[in-house]
């Protein structure tokens, strides 16, 4: 991908400013319809997922008390992996988005929820909900584009550091939750410019430290100790579950914005952005994953990344239902609805990580200096 304004063929050149506002209105209408209809069915869904997740986690951890026996190790590790994935993806991510705030249940609310992750919910909500979801795919504003350690767009400047990015990406995948905690702290930037000595940063770093301590204590000390003679086996099991959860969530999240076909935007392009233009940026800046119902749940319905980015606060179980309508809207306005199977999208994202570890082969081609009509009119 390159910044949309720098493409040889501008994918939104055929849209007028009016078209863009109508797209916005149509999307608003879809949102209103879901909001008016959400109710008991949705509440029952999230409660069922939460209760299933908790029973699965508890059950798996009980089985792991006997992890000395290979079948117990395998069953317990598999169960714990699935439980941890559900907890982070379909429950944690979505509750922290405020998708279930409308239920007014203080126990399932974005302001009270804490998740099984080393980044404290409070800090993650800021960097994810506020920064990433507002400035989606805007170069220089949305740090999710490469997480500050990778170059995932031709228009990001190449640095010799990027030569190692396939390796950085793999390490980040294995320890993804720590990568996110560092990312939420903006650790790299704060260390570079010396802001790490400020009391505000230190307070946040201490909060992360406390969270890491609690998480590590639980997974690598308390549960192994409870397992007695199975100490080492349980330790290996929880490590494996965390590793698999990290690899899985990293893969799913890479598929959201990195595959080929996803557009990026320049910082200047969002000045004075209208609601319709914001929607359009979300439509072009995200990619879906196709698959079975079970796969969607395991991705926390982030396989409907496009729908999620259009409506980050709608209940996740609704994304699948509105997807055909959203896709029809893309078709009607001649826009590309990027989607593909998980292996295909993961491969596509990885290919880009490898390709962009080297400098661009030739200088990015510029579009005709004359801006496309829609862009000139709308300032996208």
């Amino acid at each position: 991908m390159t910044v949309i304004q720098n493409k040889p063929v501008n994918p939104i050149a055929h849209l007028t400013a009016e078209d863009i506002e109508i797209i916005g209105k149509e999307l608003d209408a879809i949102r209103e319809r879901v909001v008016a209809d959400r109710g008991e069915r949705d509440a029952a869904y999230i409660r069922r997922v939460i209760s299933t997740q908790r029973k699965l986690e508890m059950g798996s951890r009980v089985v792991l008390l006997f992890s000395l026996f290979p079948p117990a190790w395998i069953v317990g590790t598999a169960g714990l992996t699935v439980a941890k994935i559900l907890e982070n993806m379909e429950v944690g991510h979505n509750v922290l988005h405020g998708q279930w705030d409308w239920m007014r249940d203080p126990k399932i609310h974005s302001t009270t929820w804490e998740w099984d992750h080393v980044s404290p919910a409070e800090q993650w909500k800021h960097s994810h909900n506020e920064l990433h979801h507002t400035y989606t795919n805007v170069l220089g504003k949305d740090n999710d584009l490469g997480y500050g350690i990778m170059r995932v767009d031709e228009d990001q400047r190449w640095h010799p550091f990027h030569l190692g990015q396939p390796l950085w990406n793999f390490i980040n995948a294995c320890f993804f939750e720590y990568g996110i905690a560092a990312y939420d702290l903006e650790l790299g930037r704060n260390l570079r410019n010396g802001r790490h000595k400020r009391p505000e940063f230190r307070a946040r770093a201490r909060a992360v430290g406390r969270k890491i301590r609690r998480q590590v204590l639980k997974d690598y000390v308390v549960h192994p100790l409870l397992s007695g003679p199975s100490f080492l086996h349980t330790l290996a099991a929880t490590f494996t579950a965390n590793l698999l959860r990290n690899l899985w969530s990293h893969s799913v999240i890479m598929c959201g914005h990195f595959p080929e076909g996803v557009e990026t935007f320049s910082r200047r392009s969002i000045e004075g952005e209208t609601r319709g233009e914001w929607y359009l940026r979300q439509m072009l800046g995200s990619a879906n994953i196709s698959g079975s119902r079970l796969m969607h749940i395991m991705t926390g319905n982030l396989s409907f990344q496009i729908e999620h980015h259009l409506f980050p606060d709608l209940p996740s179980n609704r994304y699948q239902e509105i997807a055909p309508e959203v896709r029809a809207l893309f078709d009607r306005y001649g826009l590309k609805y990027t989607t593909g199977s998980l292996p295909r999208q993961v491969l596509s994202a990885w290919r880009k990580v490898v390709r962009l570890s080297l400098p661009n082969r030739k200088a990015p081609r510029r579009v005709d200096e004359r801006p496309a009509p829609a862009l000139a009119a709308s300032g996208v």
Binding site: E40, A44, R54, R104, E114, K125, H126, H133, T134, V222
Partner: protein, 363 residues
């Protein structure tokens, strides 16, 4: 420095240690989150109750028999309980008088609910609630109760579902040999909640029952009372019913210099009538501003110098969510109205909500 804080007893310290250990097993959740799955009514849990039965009383009223959680502290006849019910997925809180006599610890309690037209919660409770449902509870509260030693002469004036707290008192059998008159008003005989039970009490001579039916007799007035119970001003009186009736009674008792003998129970003390804009109070900051119906509460607060939490300012990030203690707000995106009274636990996105009447923000 010396300290006078007493050392926790051995048992309490041990309990604290066990709890901390359990929390280190379940973090980031609490042991309670897991226990709630299997024992939601246990001691130490948030107070809840399980509906054991729903018994129809009239065409539009029903009694819910509820087993309260272990931490239920009991009630005094005449008190009410706040019930948190999930209606169409959304938790709603309402207060209902307890109609059961106090029971031994762990015994069931009951409330009797009349479905009011367009009443979201009352209709749900009367018509759609099934045994087995979990509801949220608060401890019983309210001072619409009998004194420790019952007065010799008592008058109850009730209308419609206003009979419910009085039924709680009559069932508790605490009036001894007092001379009790019950004046009850309902549209028709079929609408009288607890009609058979009240008539039974009258037949046994426990109470004198005066039934009025508004369809034939018209609304109960103070003049009627003069005629029906001539000595009413000499009686210790408890009244519960519509606001109009209670206002008239209070005026009459006060004018006669007997105001201290009249006890009234009003439900819905806070009437929220939504409009456009209103006075917005940021309770903890101690700031009140007038905001119009088009200004987001976030802007109104910031303009008044309140340090507001904020984020995307377009309704997507939920970084600005604050509790609405009471009042009404309108969602600027779709005009949807949200109202709250204290205890409802309503939280709102201040960046896309404007005042729709006076409101208190807990911030």
């Amino acid at each position: 420095m010396t300290t006078t804080v007493p050392k926790p007893s051995g048992k309490a310290a041990l309990r604290g240690r066990i709890l901390r250990l359990a929390a280190s097993v379940t973090t980031p959740l609490l042991p309670d989150d897991y226990l709630d799955l299997v024992a939601p009514l246990r001691s130490g849990a948030d107070l809840r109750g399980r509906v054991l039965a729903v018994r129809p009383e009239t065409a539009d009223a029903a009694t819910l028999v509820i087993r309260p959680g272990r931490d239920w502290r009991g009630h005094t006849p005449g008190q009410y309980v706040r019930l948190g019910v999930d209606v169409d997925g959304v938790r709603q809180w309402r207060a209902y008088s307890l109609t059961s006599a106090p029971t031994r610890r762990g015994g069931p309690i009951s409330v009797t609910v009349k479905a009011i037209p367009d009443g979201v919660v009352s209709n749900h409770l009367v018509r759609r609630t099934r045994p087995g449902t979990l509801v949220q509870l608060d401890q019983a509260q309210g001072d619409f109760v009998l004194p420790g030693r019952p007065p010799a002469r008592v008058l109850f004036v009730t209308a419609g579902s206003g009979v419910t707290p009085v039924m709680g008192m009559l069932r508790a059998d605490v009036l001894g040999g007092a001379d009790v008159v019950v004046v009850h008003s309902a549209p028709t005989p079929a609408d009288v909640i607890f009609g058979a039970e009240l008539r039974g009490l009258a037949e046994r001579g426990v109470i004198r029952l005066v039934q009025r039916h508004t369809d034939t007799d018209g609304l109960l007035t103070v003049d009627d009372l003069d005629r029906l119970v001539p000595d009413h001003l000499d009686r210790e009186t408890w009244a519960c019913g519509p606001v109009g009736l209670l206002d008239a009674l209070e005026e009459h008792w006060t004018a006669s210099g007997r105001g201290d003998r009249l006890h009234t129970e009003r439900f819905r003390p806070t009437v929220i009538s939504p409009g456009e804009g209103g006075a917005v109070t940021f309770v903890r900051s101690g700031v009140t501003v007038c905001a119009d119906g088009a200004t987001p509460l976030l802007d109104a607060g910031e303009d008044a110098g309140v340090l507001m939490p904020s984020g995307c300012r377009m309704g997507i990030c939920f970084g600005c969510v604050l509790p609405l203690r009471q009042g009404a707000v309108r969602d600027l995106r779709n005009g949807e109205l949200t109202t709250a009274v204290p205890g409802d636990g309503v939280r709102i996105q201040t960046c896309v909500s404007a005042a729709a009447g006076p409101c208190d923000i807990d911030h």
